[in-house]
């Protein structure tokens, strides 16, 4: 790891000020992507601005039909929250399947979505549940947040402060985990929301995407049979030693059906 300066501000304003005043700063949240990247010298920031001392970024609130999760809230805080479990069980399930128990005790929702790893689980929840991302500058619709592989709508130095999830009528997330690291080789969130059906896929492509054809089919018949025969083209999907693109395309259908069956109860 290259040397860096370390800062631990206690307010969002101080964090943003430290970030903009440094040559090449990075925000640190749970650190489970950034620190490994720094160990490999793939990242060498001049300054680390640790967000974990900012209390206003932490916590879970249920407000009416919304669950609002602070950006610094850890995966296990979401997974083990009775409030989240009662309001949006699919979200608690998703958080409880990220990495392993120790990783879930460090990794945060804000850190995960700001990093926008193509195999992260949370993007499927942000898009699949129609969430809204709150930052220190604005609100960003979940559908507009992820813009590519490791790319988001966030501007340089912008801090995710919270994510609000509208409570769906029903939803479920199913993934095919990498056997060693548990990341989503393919993960699918299926939800019936107040604004319609949503089917969001993570892991398969450079960035999370929706499948309109499946959403239309589910609108008239919410069952796994309804999406029989609906496929996604393998052309633009990820391909690596763990899963070729055509296999990922196949897994999209399998995981979507499993999620529909689970959501349908």
């Amino acid at each position: 790891m290259y040397a860096f300066k370390f800062h631990k501000p206690s307010s969002i304003e101080d964090a943003a000020r430290l970030f903009s005043g440094a040559d090449d700063a990075r925000y640190l949240s749970g650190g489970h992507t950034l620190l490994p990247s720094m160990k490999l010298r793939l990242a060498g920031p001049s300054d680390i601005v640790d967000l974990s001392g900012i209390d206003s970024l932490k916590g879970i609130k249920v407000e009416g039909d919304k669950v609002v999760i602070g950006a610094g809230t850890r995966h296990n805080d979401v997974a083990l929250s009775a409030e989240v479990r009662a309001a949006i069980p699919a979200l608690a399930d998703l958080a409880g399947g990220i990495g392993d128990f120790q990783v879930r005790n460090r990794g945060t929702i804000g850190g995960s979505i700001a990093n926008a790893d193509p195999s992260a689980d949370y993007p499927a929840a942000i898009v699949g549940l129609g969430a809204t991302v709150h930052t220190n500058k604005r609100e960003i619709a979940g559908d507009d947040f992820f813009t590519g592989m490791f790319e988001t709508a966030l501007e340089d130095g912008e801090i995710v402060t919270a994510v609000s999830f509208p409570r769906p009528k029903r939803a479920a997330y199913m993934k095919f985990p990498n056997p060693a690291s548990r990341y989503a080789v393919v993960g699918v969130m299926v939800a019936e929301t107040a604004s319609g059906m949503r089917v969001a896929v993570t892991g398969a492509a450079p960035s999370v995407f929706r499948i309109a054809e499946m959403e239309q089919a589910l609108a008239s018949n919410f069952s796994a049979e309804a999406i029989e025969g609906i496929t996604v083209p393998a052309d633009d999907l990820n391909s690596d030693m763990h899963a070729a693109a055509d296999y990922r395309a196949h897994l999209v259908g399998v995981m979507a059906k499993r999620a529909i069956a689970k959501a349908a109860g």
């Binding site: 790891m1 290259y2 040397a3 860096f4 300066k5 370390f6 631990k8 640190l28 650190g31 489970h32 620190l35 490994p36 720094m38 160990k39 680390i48 640790d50 974990s52 296990n76 083990l80 990495g99 392993d100 128990f101 120790q102 990783v103 005790n105 460090r106 060693a180 690291s181 548990r182």
Partner: protein, 157 residues
């Protein structure tokens, strides 16, 4: 160099380290607590598992400076003097280790499991151990050890 202070196994400790020093290296090299192991150094294997403010984490993927002011428990803090903790006894009784390299992490991880779930099923134990790799035992006796510890502890980790 900055100074970092933390409470480790009930004792206040502090030391100087570089900003880039990982918590596991601070524990091992500055404090001499070498029971916490470095296995993969990539947050996969769990040999470096310690408790921070009561939660099990991988100390290879955390900066020492991030632990400023924290309460830390390492494997050295689990036994009560010469009396092994029930979970340590259970690993011994059930042959829950062979080379022993993963054992400190296994025990710290299992302790956190039993705190959340005093009577876990075999499936729950295996799910919980996803973040702890053992290359000797095939896990079977580790699972047995944790089941025995849960029974011996009777719901009080």
């Amino acid at each position: 160099m900055p100074t970092v202070s933390m409470t480790v196994n009930g004792r206040k400790m502090s030391g100087e380290c570089e900003e880039r020093t990982l918590l596991v290296n601070f524990l091992r090299e500055n404090l001499g607590l070498t029971g916490t192991h470095v296995g993969c150094d990539t947050s996969q294997c769990g040999a470096c598992c310690v408790h921070i403010n009561g939660d099990s984490v991988k100390s290879c993927t955390m900066l020492a400076l991030q632990a400023e002011g924290a309460e830390i428990t390492t494997i050295e803090g689990v036994a009560d003097g010469d009396n092994l903790h029930a979970i340590q006894e259970a690993f011994r009784d059930n042959h829950g280790l062979q080379c022993g390299f993963c054992t400190p992490g296994m025990i710290m991880s299992a302790l956190d499991l039993l705190k959340h779930n005093a009577n876990p099923s075999e499936a729950e134990i295996r799910h919980h151990l996803e973040g702890n790799l053992c290359r000797c035992t095939g896990y079977h006796n580790i699972v047995k050890s944790i089941q025995a510890a849960a029974a011996a502890m009777g719901g009080t980790p």
